[in-house]
C-alpha cells in the first residue's frame, strides 16, 4: 500500500543517509567491529602492559564542539564522535571503525588505540603531551606501528585537514595556545582521551571528574549503566512539565525524559536502560521515588521465618583495597550462624536416579591399593612367578614378567563447598526453577557422592549486606556426619542479600587450613560477580576476591570456581586462573556437573 506520509519519511531517510555519507568520509566496506576483536584486544592490552583488572568496553557517542564544515552542518554529523577514552575502570573503544580504506588498517587502529591506552596512562602531562609522547614511544619501539601510523595519519589529514595539527605537533610546541584551541576543533581518532568532564566537553587528564558526581550515593548508581553519557542535571523537583527540557537549537537530536529512578536502590527499569542506550544525552532528575515504590521495596525483603542460632559474636576479617594497595584491617564483620528449626529430610525420589548413576561412576574409580603382578619391571620380584620361570624347561621362550608392584590410591582430601546464596540466586532459570533450587539440588547430589567416596567435606553458604554484615551459614561442618538433618539444612537455605565473596573465601580458608589432610579443595559455587551495596562492586570486589584466592593458594588450598553465570565471564580467569574454574552453561545441569568436576579435579 502506497502511503504518501511514508514516502516522505523514506525520502528524508534517503537524503540523510546520502548527505551523512558525503560528510562522513568513511569506508563502509572496510568497517571493522569491536565485538569481533574484543577478546584479542583484551589479551593485547595485557600484552602491552595494561592492568589486569581493567575491562574493555564500547564507548558511546560524545558531543564535541567543533567548527563543522558546511556539509556536516547540513547533515548534522560531525558534532558527535566515538572517541576512545579510559578511566580507572575500563578502556572504552568505538563499536566499529571505518576510517581507512582497508580492513587491515581499521583492525590495526583498534590495536593501536589499545597500545595507546597503556602508553597514555604511563606518561604524565596533559592530553596533548600524553598522546604525543605515547605516540612517539610506540613509533620508536614498533616498526609495525610506525608503518601503520604514517600511512594512517596521511590518510586522515587528506580527508580532513583540520587534523593536520596532529602532524605539526612536536616536543617544543606542545604547550602552545594554538594547539589547545585546535584540541576542541576536531578530535583525533588515533588518540585516547580522558573521561568526560562536568561541562560536557572533555576535561584534561589532570582534573578527571566523572559525570554527575552529585553525592556519593548517586554516583554509585549511575555506574550500573556501563557506558558514560553526556550528563546534565535538571531540577525537576518543581511540579512543571518537561516541556522546556531541550533547547530549540538542538532540536535535531532526540531528547526524551524517562522517569529513571536513580536515587532509589535497585529499582531497575529495563525499558529505561534500553532507551538510555539510544539517547545522546541523559538528564538526571532529583525527585525521589514516590511512596508506593518505597513500600514495595520494604515488602520485597521477605520476613525471615528461619530460626537462627548465632555462633559467637562474629569475626572480623581484613579486606583488600586495590586503590590504596593495602589491607583494611578488621574491616568486615562476618557472622557465622546455624539454622536450628529444621526437619530431617529423606532423599527425594527425583534425585535418586541421578545419584544412582553418579554412584556407579564413583564405584568405577577404584580407590584401594592395587597389586599388579606379572610385570616386566616393578618394585618387587613375585617369587611364585620367579620360581615358575626358573622351573620352566625352555627359559628362552618364557616371558620374563615376574615383577609385581603396588599402586596405592588413597585420597587425602578435604573439600569445602562454599555456595553463594545472594538475592540474585532468586532469579529463575526457567519458569519454575530458580538458581537457588538448582544450587540446593546440586549440594544434595554432591554431598551424596562425597559421602560415597568417603571424602571429608563441609558445606557453607554466605550472603552479605555491607561490610558490617556478612552472613556465613553452616550447613555441614567437617566433623558432622552426613545425615537427613544435613539435607534438611540444605533445604532450608534461603536467598540472602549480596555477594561479598572475598570475606567468605577468607573465612573458608581459615576453616580449611585447620584440616589435617594433605589436599584441600575450596569449591566456590556462585552465580555472578562479587558485589555488595557499598563500594564492593566492579573492580574493587574483583580485586579483593582475587586477593583472597591468592591468600588461599599460599596456604596450600586449591580454590576452584563453579559459576552459573550466563553473562560474560571475563573476570573468571582473572579470579581463578585459566584452569581454576568452570562455567555451567545450562544451570539445570549443575547437580550433574558438580560431582563430575570434582572427580576430574581429584583423579
Amino acid at each position: 500500500m502506497f502511503n504518501i506520509l511514508e514516502f516522505e519519511e523514506n525520502a528524508g531517510k534517503g537524503w540523510e543517509k546520502y548527505i551523512s555519507k558525503k560528510a562522513d568520509a568513511s569506508y563502509e566496506d572496510a568497517r571493522v567491529y569491536f565485538n569481533s576483536h574484543s577478546k584479542s584486544l583484551k589479551i593485547f592490552y595485557h600484552l602491552m602492559g595494561g592492568e589486569q583488572g581493567k575491562e574493555l568496553h564500547v564507548t558511546d557517542k560524545r558531543f564535541v564542539k567543533t567548527s563543522r564544515s558546511l556539509l556536516e552542518r547540513i547533515s548534522t554529523s560531525g558534532s558527535t564522535f566515538f572517541l576512545s577514552w579510559q578511566d580507572e575502570k575500563a578502556l572504552y573503544l568505538p563499536a566499529s571503525v571505518a576510517y581507512f580504506p582497508t580492513k587491515e588498517q581499521n583492525e590495526m587502529l583498534y590495536f593501536w588505540l589499545t597500545a595507546m591506552a597503556v602508553q597514555t596512562s604511563s606518561h604524565s602531562g596533559k592530553l596533548l603531551a600524553k598522546n604525543y609522547y605515547a605516540t612517539q614511544t610506540l613509533l620508536q619501539k614498533y616498526d609495525g606501528f610506525r608503518l601503520f601510523y604514517e600511512e594512517a595519519l596521511n590518510q586522515l589529514v587528506e580527508h580532513n585537514e583540520r587534523l593536520s595539527f596532529v602532524s605539526a605537533l612536536n616536543m617544543e610546541n606542545l604547550e602552545d595556545e594554538i594547539f589547545l584551541e585546535n584540541l576542541n576543533e576536531y578530535p583525533c581518532p588515533l588518540w585516547v582521551y580522558p573521561p568526560l568532564g562536568k561541562n560536557g566537553t572533555y576535561s584534561d587528564f589532570e582534573d578527571e571528574v566523572e559525570p554527575n558526581r552529585g553525592d556519593e550515593e548517586q554516583q554509585e548508581k549511575s555506574e550500573t549503566l556501563e557506558m558514560k553519557k553526556q550528563a546534565n542535571k535538571m531540577d525537576d523537583k518543581k511540579e512543571t512539565d518537561g516541556f522546556l527540557a531541550f533547547l530549540p537549537e538542538s532540536i535535531m537530536s532526540i531528547l526524551e525524559q524517562v522517569n529513571v529512578d536513580r536515587a532509589e536502590d535497585d529499582s531497575f527499569d529495563e525499558d529505561a536502560l534500553y532507551n538510555a542506550e539510544d539517547l545522546d544525552e541523559i538528564t538526571l532528575g532529583q525527585k525521589s521515588a514516590n511512596l508506593s515504590a518505597r513500600i514495595k521495596m520494604d515488602l520485597e525483603l521477605s520476613p525471615n521465618f528461619k530460626e537462627e542460632y548465632p555462633l559467637g559474636d562474629g569475626k572480623f576479617l581484613d579486606e583488600w583495597d586495590y586503590s590504596k594497595q593495602i589491607y583494611l584491617k578488621n574491616y568486615v564483620k562476618l557472622k557465622p550462624y546455624l539454622v536450628t528449626n529444621i526437619e530431617p529430610i529423606e532423599l527425594e525420589p527425583r534425585l535418586k536416579k541421578m545419584i544412582k548413576k553418579i554412584e556407579g561412576e564413583i564405584d568405577l574409580m577404584e580407590l584401594d591399593r592395587v597389586k599388579n603382578n606379572r610385570l616386566p619391571y616393578g618394585d618387587e620380584i613375585n617369587l611364585d612367578t620367579w620360581i615358575d620361570y626358573k622351573g620352566h624347561k625352555n627359559k628362552s621362550g618364557h616371558h620374563q614378567k615376574f615383577y609385581e608392584s603396588f599402586e596405592r590410591k588413597t585420597r587425602d582430601m578435604s573439600t569445602l563447598i562454599l555456595a553463594d546464596v545472594s538475592l540474585s540466586t532468586e532469579a529463575g532459570i526457567t519458569q519454575e526453577v530458580r538458581i537457588i533450587d538448582v544450587i540446593k539440588d546440586g549440594l544434595i547430589v554432591f554431598a551424596e557422592s562425597l559421602n560415597r567416596l568417603n571424602d571429608k567435606f563441609a558445606i557453607y553458604t554466605f550472603s552479605s549486606n555491607k561490610n558490617t554484615n556478612v552472613r556465613f551459614e553452616i550447613v555441614k561442618n567437617f566433623n558432622e556426619k552426613y545425615t537427613d538433618n544435613t539435607r534438611g539444612r540444605i533445604d532450608a537455605i534461603k536467598p540472602g542479600y549480596y555477594t561479598r565473596l572475598g570475606a567468605a573465601i577468607r573465612e573458608s580458608t581459615k576453616i580449611l587450613e585447620k584440616q589435617k589432610t594433605e589436599n584441600k579443595l575450596l569449591l566456590i559455587i556462585s552465580d555472578g560477580k562479587p558485589n555488595d551495596v557499598d563500594r564492593y562492586d566492579g573492580r574493587y570486589g574483583i580485586e579483593d576476591t582475587k586477593k583472597s584466592i591468592i591468600e588461599a593458594r599460599k596456604l596450600g588450598i586449591t580454590p576452584f570456581g563453579i559459576t552459573v553465570d550466563l553473562e560474560s565471564k571475563d573476570y573468571l580467569p582473572y579470579l581463578f586462573g585459566k584452569n581454576g574454574y568452570t562455567v555451567v552453561r545450562d544451570g539445570k545441569k549443575l547437580p550433574k556437573v558438580l560431582p563430575e568436576v570434582y572427580m576430574n579435579l581429584t583423579k
Partner: protein, 261 residues
C-alpha cells in the same frame, strides 16, 4: 673454565657453593626454559662432580631411584639406582620436575635431605651413609596446579630454596647473543617481545615464552630465516593453540619484525 655456558643472574652460584660446602640439599623452582638444568650442569662442571639426572614422571617408583633386584644367570642381584649411585660414590643427584613424581616416592629422600644424610634400602637391609661429595638437588615448576600434585610441605621444608625466573632483559640479551650468534639489534627485539609476552598472566596464556625459545628463534634467524617467520615458528606456535592468543601474538611479532613477503 667450564665448557657449559652459563651467565649468573644473581647470587645463585655463591648460594649453591655454600650449600654444597655445608652438605645442604637444594630446591630450585622456576618456569620452564629459564636455565635450571643448565645451571646444574654448569655447577657440576665447576665443582667437578658427576651429575645424575632423573627426570621424574608420575610412574616413577622408589625403586627407580634407589635400585632393584635384577636377574642374571646366577640368580638375582642388586642394581643401584641413580640416587644410590650418587650416595655411594659422591656426585650431584638432580631430580628434575620432582612434582611429577608420586608423593610416596619422594619420601625416600627425607632421611637424605636432613642432618642424617643416610639412605636406608629396605630390600637389602643396607643403610648407606652419604659420600661427603653427595649433594641432592631437586627442581620443579610452580606454574601448573593440580589438586593432587604438589610437593609435601614436609619434603619442601628440607631444602635450601632458590627461585629462578627468566633473566633480566640485558642478561637475557647477552645469553641470546652468546648462544645463537645473532646481532645485538635482533636480540634486543626478541627480549622486548619476551618482556611483553611475560606480562600476560595465566588467564590469557598458560606459560610465558622461555629463554630457550628465544634462543631457538635467534638460531633460526642466524640460519637465514626471515625474523617474522622465525618468531612465528619458534615463539608463537609453541605458546598457544587458541586462535585469539595466536592472533594477538602474531600481531605483536608483526609489530616488531615487519612481515615482508
Amino acid at each position: 673454565m667450564s665448557k657449559t655456558y652459563y651467565l649468573s643472574q644473581a647470587n645463585e652460584i655463591e648460594l649453591f657453593e655454600a650449600a654444597e660446602e655445608m652438605n645442604l640439599p637444594m630446591l630450585i623452582k622456576g618456569p620452564t626454559g629459564c636455565g635450571k638444568t643448565r645451571f646444574i650442569e654448569y655447577m657440576g662442571e665447576k665443582l667437578k662432580r658427576d651429575v645424575y639426572t632423573v627426570v621424574c614422571h608420575d610412574d616413577l617408583s622408589a625403586a627407580d631411584l634407589v635400585g632393584r633386584h635384577l636377574i642374571n644367570e646366577n640368580g638375582t642381584y642388586w642394581q643401584d639406582g641413580p640416587l644410590t649411585k650418587a650416595v655411594r660414590n659422591g656426585g650431584i643427584c638432580y631430580l628434575d620436575e620432582i612434582i611429577e613424581a608420586r608423593k610416596d616416592t619422594t619420601v625416600v629422600l627425607h632421611s637424605l635431605a636432613d642432618y642424617r644424610r643416610v639412605l636406608p634400602i629396605d630390600r637389602t637391609g643396607e643403610v648407606i651413609e652419604a659420600h661427603p661429595d653427595f649433594m641432592l638437588v631437586v627442581s620443579y615448576n610452580p606454574g601448573y596446579q593440580n589438586v593432587l600434585k604438589g610437593m609435601k610441605p614436609s619434603t619442601k621444608q628440607r631444602f635450601i630454596s632458590l627461585s629462578f625466573d627468566y633473566p633480566k632483559a640485558d642478561i637475557e640479551k647477552e645469553i641470546i647473543i652468546k648462544e645463537s650468534g645473532v646481532d645485538a639489534e635482533v636480540a634486543q627485539k626478541l627480549v622486548n617481545i619476551a618482556g611483553e609476552i611475560r606480562q600476560l598472566t595465566d588467564s590469557d596464556i598458560q606459560e610465558a615464552v622461555s629463554t630457550r625459545l628465544l634462543v631457538y628463534s635467534a638460531k633460526l634467524i642466524v640460519k637465514g630465516f626471515n625474523p617474522y617467520q622465525a618468531c612465528m615458528h619458534s615463539i608463537v606456535e609453541s605458546l598457544s593453540d587458541e586462535d585469539e592468543v595466536l592472533e594477538v601474538l602474531e600481531k605483536l611479532i608483526s609489530l616488531h619484525f615487519v612481515k615482508s613477503e
